[in-house]
Amino acid sequence: MNNGTNKLLKSLYSICKINIEVYLAFLNKLHPLTTEKHRGISFLEPLEAIFSQVYLLLNRLINHMINLYILGFKLICFKEVINMLSVGLSIVSLARFQFAMTTVFHFFFVPFSIGMGFLVAIMETIYAVKKDKDYLDMAKFWGKIFLLSFAVGIVTGIIQEFQFGMNWSEYSRFMGDVFGAPLAIEALLAFFIESVFIGIWMFTWDRFKPGVHALMIWITSIGTMLSAIWILAANSFMQHPTGFKINNVTGRVQLTDFGAVISNPQLWRAFPHVILAAFMTAAVVITGMSAYGLLRKKKNENIFFKKSLRFGLWASLIFAILSAGAGDLQTRQIINDQPMKFAATEGIYEDTKDPAPWTVVALINAKDHKTTNQVEIPGVLSIMSYHKLSGSVKGMNTINKELHAKYDKQFGKNMNYYVPPKTLFWSFRVMTGFDALIMLVSLVGLIFSRKKKDTIESHKWMLVVLGICIWVPFIANSAGWFITEFGRYPWIVYGLFTIAQAVSPTSTVATLLFSNIVYFLLFALLGGVMVWYSRQTLHHGPYYEEADSKQNVDPFAKEAFGK
């Protein structure tokens, strides 16, 4: 054997050795956590070993990714989220990642479906009243997109319901008395309405009179909104618990006042914000897809897409403004309820001056608890927070001390009450910035397409911008939920129960990683296919179905007899 091969073998050996050592160290690190309330690791022991290895690799990969630079800027938000996820190692972080992934994906389709249902209902009502056939075509065409999104929304919704039991069984035990009721009522009241009436609506275009048929989509749409109320009632309790006591024997939450759960102030500020943002989401998609439709310049479709465009522009302008207003209402609730969340969205560490300046952008140093390089507008934060020209806002350092004073007895001195400030700071700017962008773009679009001087088709760039804007509300929606959910850290139920306490004791790295991978692959498939079929539907245009069904009338078509 010559020297070269020897060297190669040696280095190979050393790589293996390092790998094994790291792996063993990793398992050691893992086991104290998993063996605490021990058991014989489920029936997936072999899988466990394989997935631990995969997890290790992923961890390394993520560590490299943390240092990613894009155009010279470090991906700051990303790093913080990753760092936070790895707090408490493996099981909690994997369960959190899964919840974030499934919820964000689910919430692409939820607001879109709620909004589409509502807008399609309006279109069909206009048809039923005015008998303008264009609006029938619009209801049918946008109805197809609605159904696609609805389908993905349903199936990803079931995951949400099962997930509380699967990954967060301790949470389910702790919160069962309060949390189960809205969920069950949501199913009984909303899901049945949605599922039954959408089934009827889909298949009765030719059977019901226009008015009656429109009623079916209205009922479906109301069902989707009822569903939003109940799930937000459940979420609002997690943000701002009301109407409960802690049972002395079991140590679990016990409902004492159902009325207080439903009339939770957090709920009635979150609901308008969510629902109006949902309408805006659908309106922006209708606008954007119509803009693409106009770009194709098919003469027979021109009127259809122009009407849809105007409809979408008006709706997105109105709902963008309204949702900003609703967001303002919610913000002012949060200042009192969850001051840490609010301070983080504004990147305030030290108490502000009076009147408080608003930081447009800044660099946040989460380690040393400092904000630098602020670009500030004096006085604006006071107006935003209190609708007054004066008043200072508490900083995170002060709030941290307050929280320690309040909760140290119950949760110990080692709790970290700082929420991830960069994530919240930038999420807030993304959300509000995109909302403002939608307002601006819709306004410009309306001006270009006004009846007296309609020049929108000659402004191709405008159509392209509108088309690109399709993606904007989805990002803004997710950013909004990032603020709400990350801002509750370290609690799963504010002030009562921490995230680390809530996770299933039965969960293992193997099962969580396995399910994460399965969900990820499924979501990639569903999301991709959904977008692809929507694009295809747009490509065919609104008059495709009729031509298609004419062909199908032929009783001797190939299909009828198979091959």
Binding site: K37, R39, S42, F43, L147, L148, A151, V152, I154, V155, I158, I159, E161, F162, F164, G165, M166, S169, E170, S172, R173, G176, D177, F179, G180, A181, L183, A184, I185, A187, L188, L189, F192, S195, F197, I198, G199, I200, M202, F203, T204, Q254, L255, T256, F258, S504, P505, S507, T511, F514, S515, V518, L526, Y533, T537, A557, E559, A560, G562, K563
Partner: protein, 337 residues
Amino acid sequence: MTLSILWFLIIGLLFAIFLFMEGFDFGVGMSTRFLAKNDAERVAIMSTIGPHWDANETWLVTAGGAMFASLPLWYASLFSGYYILFLLVLVGLILRGVSFEFHKHAETNAGRNLWMWAFFVGSILPPFFLCMILLSMVQGIPMNANGDAFPKFFDVVNLLSVVGGVAGVLLSLVHGLNFIRLRVAGPLRDRARNLNKILYPILFLGEVVFAVLVFLQTDFFTKRFASSLIITALIVLFSLLGYYGVLKNREGWSFAGSGLSLSMVIVLLFNGLFPRVMIATNPAHSILIKNAANSQYTLTIMTIVACILVPIVVIYFIWSYSLFTKRINPRENTVKY
């Protein structure tokens, strides 16, 4: 005390309704391969449940929600204990749920095939694994004092649970074929009946094996001999009713028979479980209804809500079925799916 038992019964009822309604959905999905011979027939079969499948599935979501709202400790232990199996149920439900809409939009043969297969696979996985979960659960599994279940491989995969899973799939298929006989016209209708003529004898054999295994592997017959025996007899009896309907070509009887025998399986399991909801190998760790239940206050509210909403749901649910009674004929190719 009484309210928590009432909710145990309501959950049982919801699961029973779910199996009755969704059972034929699953069977219809399986029929796309076991019964249909070409794509037109597959589409016709699929469209028999087009307007209904989502509403049927809602019974499962409601059952889960009711479990969470009334007996949360059961919900927490069951779902976290059978993690992987519930994941597989979910995968099935997801594939099935999107297949209807996606199949409609697919334009290539490959695309249509993909979603049709997703429909088929998604219709087999959930009944199989749900029955497996239930039948593994009733045999007793290792649990700790906190109620966390740690079933080992052979606690989950054993003779009874596998036979139960297969029986669930088979019953769903038979039920689905009976539904198809009600909803389609032409040769498909006759072929569904002929296939059921073959399947019923196999089903009876399966039911006998199932009953023997339940007798051997669970404590149902030692704890409640009479009621367990009666319910087991009812399962067989309803299946016989279904078989009678097949032989005499009485479609309504067949459908009711197969649906009720599916529901009776749930009745058997819930009857045997009572007053427990989870059975641990160490009896001290078994979860009882009274320990799993929510506070009296919450249960009262939920009872009021259910009393108001369920009748309304049932009314429009049935009304939606009454709208779609015209038989579907794949030959006419008017199926607008």
